[in-house]
Structure formats: structure tokens, C-alpha cells
């Protein structure tokens, strides 16, 4: 019998080790797995590399993980937010390194990593400062850059409904980086509002097939990052 359910967010992240590379889903607050991130802060792993589109807002979720000085490198397309000074301060201090990646290149590097493709050519960023130091090659008269696939030790992902086999469906634009990150991480951990028995999801509607997911944990009423930020919450 396959059962990927774990009983709590704490159990789900218990084996994250110092120096791990972690993909964290979300675009702004949509799809940000706040409960899993808070469990990771409680768990204490440090020296982490985080691959995520943004760097969080306020002092909760991803921003709180950064503020706790657990992250020494971020791989990210847009690390600026209107309402957070956490990342800028750590970056200027030199504590957290930044690898800036165009958003589509970031998504494709993650997809490629999960698909067993070590590198690919893309037209994005040709002729820009982000092309510096990268191999380039011409195909049919156009220049392309070589970009490398990304993999990770863990991924933290927010879904809407999952089943015990790890199949996942998402909610609206909260899907964003979840599916490619589930593919690219050795241990993909999904929090979902409902976790059902096998047969509880229509196979035609499954977005992330369970083979890509190692653990699912039910978080029935996830917090919304913007509400915590508006309330001035600082985690822990």
C-alpha cells in the first residue's frame, strides 16, 4: 500500500539538513506554502539554498525564513517587494547571495532538472548582463544561451487537494511553480487543504502525478500571507 500522508508540517520537514537546496513554490503569496516554511523555521536547518520566484513579504513565510538567517543563497527572478526589507538587508550585508534568473528561464531550468535534461538553449537574456559568462550558440542564425537544469533536495509546495498517492490539484494562479518543482526535487512535500484516499481525485483532473511527490500533509485552513503581513505578524 502506498500512503504518503504525514501527520504534521513538522514531521514533513523533519529531515531537512543544513546546507540543503530547497525549492519553494509560490508567486508572491499565491501558492506560498507558509505552514511548511514556518515548520522549517522551527526545525532549525540552516545554510540553505532557496530556489523561489520571490523573497517573501513582511516578516512571515519565506521572508521569516530569510530573517532567521537560515538562507545563504537564493535563486530568484524578482527579489524585490514593496513591503519587505528582509532580503535587501541580508543581500547588502553579504549574508545571502543572489543568483538572478529571468522568470521563464527559472521555470524551464526547474522543469529541465525534473525531466532529466541537464541543460538547454534559450533566447532569453541574449545581449544582456545576465548573459555574461554563459556559453552561447547560434541556431538558424539566432543566438541562444546555454542554461543548466536545476534540481533540489526538497521542494515545499502548496496544493488544494492531494491524495495518499501524492497526486495533486491546485487552486487558480497558486499553481505557478508547484508542478515543475515537484518534478525537480528529490523529496517534494505538498501541503493541501484536503488529503483524500486513493480514488478521491479524478485521474483526468490530476495536475501533478503522485510519482513526483514524496509527502503530503493536510493543512485544512492555510493562512494567507497578506493577512499576516497586514496584521503586522512576525514569525516566530
Amino acid at each position: 500500500m502506498i500512503d504518503k500522508r504525514v501527520s504534521s508540517a513538522a514531521d514533513a520537514v523533519a529531515d531537512v539538513f543544513d546546507g540543503a537546496t530547497i525549492m519553494i513554490g509560490g508567486f508572491g503569496e499565491a501558492g506560498s506554502p507558509v505552514e511548511l516554511i514556518h515548520a522549517l523555521i522551527d526545525q532549525g536547518a540552516s545554510g540553505l539554498t532557496v530556489i523561489s520566484n520571490n523573497t517573501g513579504s513582511g516578516e512571515v513565510g519565506l521572508a521569516a525564513l530569510l530573517k532567521a538567517r537560515r538562507v545563504t543563497k537564493v535563486v530568484c527572478s524578482f527579489p524585490r517587494t514593496a513591503n519587505s526589507t528582509v532580503f535587501p538587508e541580508l543581500y547588502r550585508e553579504g549574508f545571502t547571495e543572489l543568483e538572478l534568473v529571468p522568470q521563464g528561464t527559472l521555470a524551464e531550468r526547474i522543469r529541465a532538472g525534473g525531466a532529466g535534461v541537464p541543460a538547454f538553449y534559450t533566447p532569453t537574456a541574449v545581449g544582456t548582463p545576465l548573459a555574461e559568462g554563459k556559453e552561447s550558440r547560434e541556431f538558424d542564425g539566432r543566438e541562444y544561451l546555454l542554461e543548466h537544469g536545476l534540481t533540489a533536495d526538497f521542494a515545499l509546495i502548496k496544493g488544494r487537494v492531494a491524495d495518499a498517492h501524492g497526486n495533486v490539484i491546485y487552486n487558480k494562479t497558486a499553481r505557478n511553480f508547484g508542478p515543475p518543482m515537484a518534478m525537480a526535487a528529490r523529496v517534494a512535500i505538498v501541503q493541501a487543504e484536503r488529503v483524500v484516499d486513493p480514488g478521491g481525485l479524478d485521474p483526468e483532473s490530476v495536475v501533478t502525478p503522485g510519482i513526483f511527490v514524496e509527502r503530503v500533509v493536510e493543512i485544512a485552513t492555510p493562512v494567507h500571507e497578506s493577512e499576516l503581513v497586514a496584521a503586522g505578524v512576525s514569525y516566530p
Binding site: 508567486f27 522568470q103 521555470a107 524551464e108 522543469r111 487558480k172 494567507h224
Partner: protein, 225 residues
């Protein structure tokens, strides 16, 4: 170049309305943050555009009523939006396959600078203390079939945004097709910037005086050199 900041010409809304007139019916369009977002208000009668937002929605609709927003239904500017009938959600790798794979018809972006051969700078002023952030702009300009820039003709201090070559870090090289400003509609041609249309009440010399590159006159203009 002039430092006069009180220039006549189109308002932001009129610029958006003018650009919307040039989008064919049925186009798949990605609108950037800022003035580009206004275009959705000015869809000409009888036309339908399908809006793409790179965080995973095709068929994006207008903002919901205040208080009715869903934090998991947002646009690339992270503002609450709605989904139109016929909309589709998808993940980021698919979203950028649409962009990079040439499936979108038009990307409308803001600009810090546009160079006369179509180079675009719109993500960084290159200040050493700035936190670099690029988002999806480099992917959009590399992959979408047509790239239109909508911007004020000059900066707030009157410096030209249309220039011979960009001093800011590039977003893409030779990617811009057209520029819609408060003063004119300008096409990027192999010979450089060509004025397609002057804004009402604006003459060619005024546009030239606020531009950091030599402008070509509209095709068919008797003063054409």
C-alpha cells in the same frame, strides 16, 4: 534636447487607447505593469483580446470589486484579478513555453530607455546599491511575436527615453517593434526610429527635440529626406 517637462500630447489613458486600436481582434496579449495595464479598459468595439498573465492564467479579466479578491487569483503585478469565461490556468513552465515559444501575439511593456534599433532597457538603472530584479521581461521580449513599448516620451526630469543606444542594462537587443508615447507613435525600422503618427497638437520638431536619436519623418511626408 529640451528640459521642458510641460509637454503637450496624449494622457496615459489616451496613449493606452491609441495603442489598443492597433491590436487585431483575437490577439493573445501580455500586458506589463503600469501604463500597459490601462489598455484593457480601451478594447475597441467588436474586438476581443485574450490576456495572458505569466503567473499562470490565460483569459484574465478585470479586478474584482473591493473585498471580493481571491489571494490565489492574481496577476503578474500581484494584484487581484478575475478569470473570464473560457479562461485556463497552467503552471509556470507552460506559461513561459507560451511566451518563449512564440505563441503570444503581443507583449506591451514599459521602458526606461529604447534605442533606435529596438534595444530595450526596462529592468535596472544599474545603480550599484539597487537590488537586481528582472521578473519575466527578458523572456517576453525574446519570445513574443510583437513587442510594443508604451511610455512617456521623456523621464520626469525631461531626459529622452528614446535614444541612440541605451545606457542602462538591456532587457533585450533589437526587440522593440513600436513605441507609443505621449508625443507620437514611433516605429523601429532598420534605418532607426520612424514617426508613424504625431499626437494631436504636437509637431515633428517638438518630438525630435525630446528624442535622443534622429527621427525619420512619417512615410509619404513631403519633408521626408
Amino acid at each position: 534636447m529640451s528640459t521642458n517637462t510641460a509637454i503637450a500630447g496624449r494622457t496615459r489613458e489616451e496613449m493606452a487607447q491609441r495603442l489598443a486600436r492597433d491590436i487585431p481582434n483575437g490577439s493573445y496579449v501580455n500586458l506589463g505593469i503600469g501604463i500597459p495595464e490601462l489598455i484593457a479598459r480601451f478594447v475597441p468595439e467588436g474586438r476581443t483580446f485574450v490576456y495572458h498573465t505569466e503567473n499562470g492564467l490565460l483569459g484574465m479579466g478585470p479586478s474584482p470589486e473591493a473585498g471580493a479578491g481571491d489571494p490565489e487569483l492574481i496577476n503578474a503585478g500581484k494584484r487581484h484579478v478575475t478569470a473570464m469565461p473560457g479562461a485556463a490556468y497552467f503552471h509556470h513552465a507552460d506559461s513561459f513555453a507560451m511566451i518563449r515559444g512564440g505563441h503570444l501575439d503581443l507583449s506591451v511593456l514599459g521602458a526606461l530607455q529604447v534605442a533606435q534599433h529596438g534595444d530595450l532597457a526596462n529592468w535596472s538603472t544599474g545603480e550599484p546599491d539597487a537590488i537586481p530584479a528582472v521578473g519575466g521581461a527578458m523572456d517576453l521580449v525574446a519570445g513574443v511575436k510583437h513587442v510594443y513599448v508604451i511610455t512617456q516620451h521623456t523621464t520626469k526630469t525631461g531626459a529622452p527615453k528614446l535614444v541612440e543606444s541605451c545606457s542602462y542594462p538591456l532587457t533585450g537587443r533589437g526587440v522593440v517593434d513600436r513605441v507609443y508615447t505621449n508625443l507620437a507613435v514611433i516605429e523601429v525600422t532598420p534605418e532607426g526610429f520612424r514617426v508613424v503618427e504625431l499626437s494631436p497638437g504636437v509637431d515633428f520638431d517638438t518630438v525630435q527635440n525630446h528624442t535622443g536619436a534622429t527621427l525619420l519623418r512619417p512615410s509619404g511626408d513631403p519633408n521626408d529626406e
